[in-house]
Amino acid sequence: MAEPAATFLAEAVHHQWTAFPELSNLCYVHGRPAGSPAATVTVPVRPERAELRVWEGIEMVKVGRAQVWRRTSGAAAPHRYSAASLVRHGLTHEPWPRVWRQVPLRPAYDAVIVGAGIHGLATAYHLAKDHGITKVAVVDRGYVGGGNSGRNTAIVRSNYLTPEGVRFYDRSVKLYEALSAELNFNVMFEQRGHLTLAHNDSSLRTMVWRAEVNKLVGVDSSVIGPEEIKRLVPYLDTSTETRYPILGALYHPPGGTIRHDAVNWGYARAADALGVEIHQGVEVLAISTTGDRVRGVVTSAGEIATPIVVNCTAGHASLLCDMVGVSTPVVTHPLQAAVTEPVKAFLSAVVVSGSLHVYVSQTDRGELVFGASTDPYASYSTRGSLEFTEELASHVLALMPGISKIRLLRQWAGLCDMTPDFSPIMGITPVEGFLLDVGWGTYGFKAGPASGEAMATLVATGKTPELIAAFDLARFAEGRLVGEKGAASVGH
C-alpha cells in the first residue's frame, strides 16, 4: 500500500491529479463509498499523519490533506497479502508468517517432485489444488527458484509456430494473467507487448507464418511495419541503410514480463498452504526401481518411498534420467543473460531480434535485461563468457545506437536442456512412475503454469492430457518431431 500511496500522493500534490489520467481513474472516477469506513488505521508519522480507511471494495490512504483511493476486493483475510495487511504489519510490528514451512522429510509420499523451480512447484500446487493430492514432496538440492526459474529473463508469450505449441503456451499466458489473484502473491505480470524483429525476407515470412497460426488458434499476433515499430519503440533504428534493416516485426500484445522470483515464491507459498512439503537442500542421489517401476528415491537427507517421481529439473534433466536408464535427446547448453544499470524508462515493449540473437526489455526499476541464444557448445558451466557480452552489446547497439553509454552491471547463466525440435519432453517413460517434464530449452519459464497443470493431471489420472500429447518422449524414436524446429534460434 504505502509505496504507491506515497507515490500517488507525491505525484498528486505536484500535479494536482490532472496530469495523470491513469491516477484520476484510480482515485476519483469511481466516486466515494457511502457510509463510514469498516476500519480506520491511523499512522502517527512525523511530520505528517497517515491514515488508512477501508470500506468493502475500496480503500483510501490519507497523508496530510492528500488522499489516495483505490478499489480492492473486499476485506483482507488474516495473512492474506493486501494493502491493508501491509499497513497493519507496518503499524503493529506483528511478524509476517513464513512463506513456506520447514519440516522434516517423511519416509513416504504419494509423489516426489524433483526440482523446486516453477515447473516442480506448479505441478505440486496443481496436484494439491486440482486433485487433492497433498502428500507430495518437492525436493531440490539448492533453494526455491535457484535454477533456471530464477535465472531466466522473465518473458512470457505464446506466439509460437505450431498450433500445438501456441495452444500450450496460450494456456500458460491465461494462467499467468490470473496468477496474482490465484496465489495471493503479486507476480507483477506486465503485458507490455512483444516484438520479434525481422531483418530479412525469410524471417519476415516466418513472422507472417507465426502470426497466421497464432490468429487461427485465437492468439493476438500480427505483423507490423517499420513505422508502427518506431512508434512502439522509438529508440530502435528503423532507417533502411543499416546492416540489419528492420523490415517488420511480429507484434504480440499479450506478451510481456513477469517477476520470476515472485512466481516461484507465490507457487511455493500456495502449495505449502495446501499441504505440499518443500525440501530445500535435499539432493536426489538415486532412484530405486523394482523391475520397470519406480519404488523410491534416495536423497542426501534419507530414503523416501514413492510410486511417482516427476523429473522437473532443468539443466540436469538427463542426469536424473540416467539414474533410471532412460535415454533422452537432451543436450545441455548454457544460456547467458545480463542486466544493466538502471536508466529512466524508455523501452516499454519486449524487443527480440532472432537474426541478431538478442532480446531486451526494461524492468520497472529501469534496468535493461538482455538475453541471447544458447552458448555454441554443450556445457554445465554457469561461469559465463566475455564473448557473450561483446556480441550482445554490439547487437543491441546495432538495434538501438543511442544507448552505448549504458553500463552492463551483471551477467549470469542458466543451463538449458535443448531438444532436437525445440520442444519439451513431457509425459511417461518406459519406467512406470518416472515422469518427465524436461527438455524446455529456453522456453521453460513461460510454460510453467500450463505444464504444472498438465503434469498434475497426468500424475493424478494416469492419462496424458491432450494439451501435451505432442510432446511425448516416444516421438523421437518414432520420427514425429514437433515443427517448432526452425521457428527461430532465439525466440524469447
Binding site: T328, V330, V331, Y377, Y380, E387, F476, A477, E478
Partner: protein, 86 residues
C-alpha cells in the same frame, strides 16, 4: 574464452572452431532399425564430466578434430584429428 589445443595449429580461441557435438558411431545403414537409427540421430550421453566431441577448426586449419572436454570445467584432456585412432 576457452582455447582448443588444435593438434595442427596449437592453442587457439574457441571462436575459431565450430562444435559438432558428441562423436557417435554411424550405424550400419543396411541393418539399422528405426530405434537404432534415431538414437544415433537424437540421443546424447550429455554427461556432466568428460565428453568426446567433434570440433571443426573452421577459421584455422579446417580440420575436424575429436576432443575430450570436461563439460563442467571446460578443461580439455585431449585433441586429435578426426578419423585417427586415439
Amino acid at each position: 574464452m576457452i582455447q582448443i589445443p588444435c593438434p595442427y595449429c596449437g592453442l587457439r580461441n574457441a571462436n575459431e572452431f565450430a562444435s559438432t557435438g558428441e562423436v557417435k558411431p554411424r550405424p550400419d545403414v543396411a541393418t539399422a532399425t528405426p530405434a537404432v537409427w534415431r538414437a544415433y540421430l537424437y540421443d546424447h550421453r550429455n554427461p556432466e564430466g568428460l565428453v568426446t566431441e567433434g570440433w571443426y577448426h573452421r577459421a584455422g586449419c579446417r580440420k575436424f578434430l575429436v576432443v575430450e572436454r570436461h563439460t563442467q570445467t571446460n578443461e580439455i584432456r585431449s585433441a586429435r584429428p578426426a578419423g585417427v585412432a586415439s
